[in-house]
């Protein structure tokens, strides 16, 4: 079965979404991530969506859910690299993703996760 790979980088997990996802793939990723956070006791998750040219309500909801469930499992999620056109469209659609942390790119996202950990 098709799967989006999850990379482990120290205490963080990195997911780079590079394909035009169909809904089942998004749901599988959601399950896989929850399982990996629990197995590795990861403290943070980076989701790189810089290659995505579109985020609709389904993918938006997936991002929201991942962010929420990682929080419950004591891991912070940062979504990085959202394209301007995608951001404008999401806002117009009415999806503001209020509880989701964001960063410009993977590097900044990583910094943000470290800062959070250090502050704890």
């Amino acid at each position: 079965m098709e799967r989006i790979p999850i990379l482990r980088m120290g205490e963080f997990l990195l997911v780079t979404i590079q394909v035009d996802m169909h809904d089942q793939l998004a749901l599988t990723l959601q399950d896989d991530l929850a399982e990996r956070i629990s197995r590795t006791s990861a403290r943070g998750v980076l989701i790189d969506i810089s290659a995505l040219d579109m985020v609709d309500s389904f993918i938006g909801r997936m991002i929201n859910t991942i962010s929420g469930l990682s929080k419950v499992m004591d891991a912070e999620t940062v979504v990085v690299g959202m394209q301007p056109a995608v951001a404008i469209t999401l806002v117009e659609l009415g999806l503001y993703l209020p509880g989701v942390s964001t960063a410009l790119n993977v590097e900044r996202g990583m910094e943000r996760l470290r800062e959070r950990l250090d502050a704890q």
Binding site: G81, P84, A87, L90, V91, T102, L104, N105, R108
Partner: protein, 285 residues
Amino acid sequence: MSTLSQRTIDAIRSNESQLLASWSVNLEASGASRDTRIGHSEFEGQTREFLRLLVAGSATGDTGSVASNEWSETRAFLEKLSRSRALQGFDSAHTAHFIFSLKRPLFDLLQKEYATDPAELANQLWAISEMLDTLGMHTIRTFQKSREEVIARQQEELLELSTPVVKLWDGVLALPMIGTLDSQRTQVVMESLLQRIVDTGSEIAIIDITGVPTVDTLVAQHLLKTVTAIRLMGADAIISGVRPQIAQTIVHLGLDLQGIVTKANLADALALALKRSGYQVGKAS
């Protein structure tokens, strides 16, 4: 619908040079061919080509329906002509006159040809007149379309010129907005700001609206949407220079300002941006 008779077409063919000559005289009289924007030989080429296409088109096609296939070459020629005239800055009358001034020479020719047959003369005059009118109309339509395209392009260029995104500091961008904002302008400006954030990797964007006298509902909403989009991209936005009137509009609209940082002026906004970026500014004593 009427068609040109073979006799008429033959007459045009065998009198081609004479037709061209009196057509040029007509064009010259109106001053159309003396304009320096078009060279003499270019003009001559255009008249010759048009007459050739006219004969070719009317040999097969109906004179009343230039939209049909037989006229496609003629249409293409006229479209090219109108477009180049529009770009050269001519008005629509000039462009239409190019075709209408061919009427006189053609009428003269027909009158000679059908001197003994008034019924056929009327018939053929009508056909020619109908044909030239439709072609003339087509020219004007194309001309207008080309002009609209020119205007649209200029509007776009103006928009881009009037929206400078400036770098205030490493990682800090500012967008000083001046003048009345309409919805379209706001949209374009905001998009270029968002793109610059990505290009420069800036984490803070200041939108300064000191120079904006008032905003309407749509623009206010657009400002707030932009702030949200900036946050989704992973950067922060500060709005500075909010006038009392604009503050009233925003509150009146019941727009949610939660999580949106505002500062009285650009200086304060920059101070906050520097502080957030970890800089300390002090006097070197």
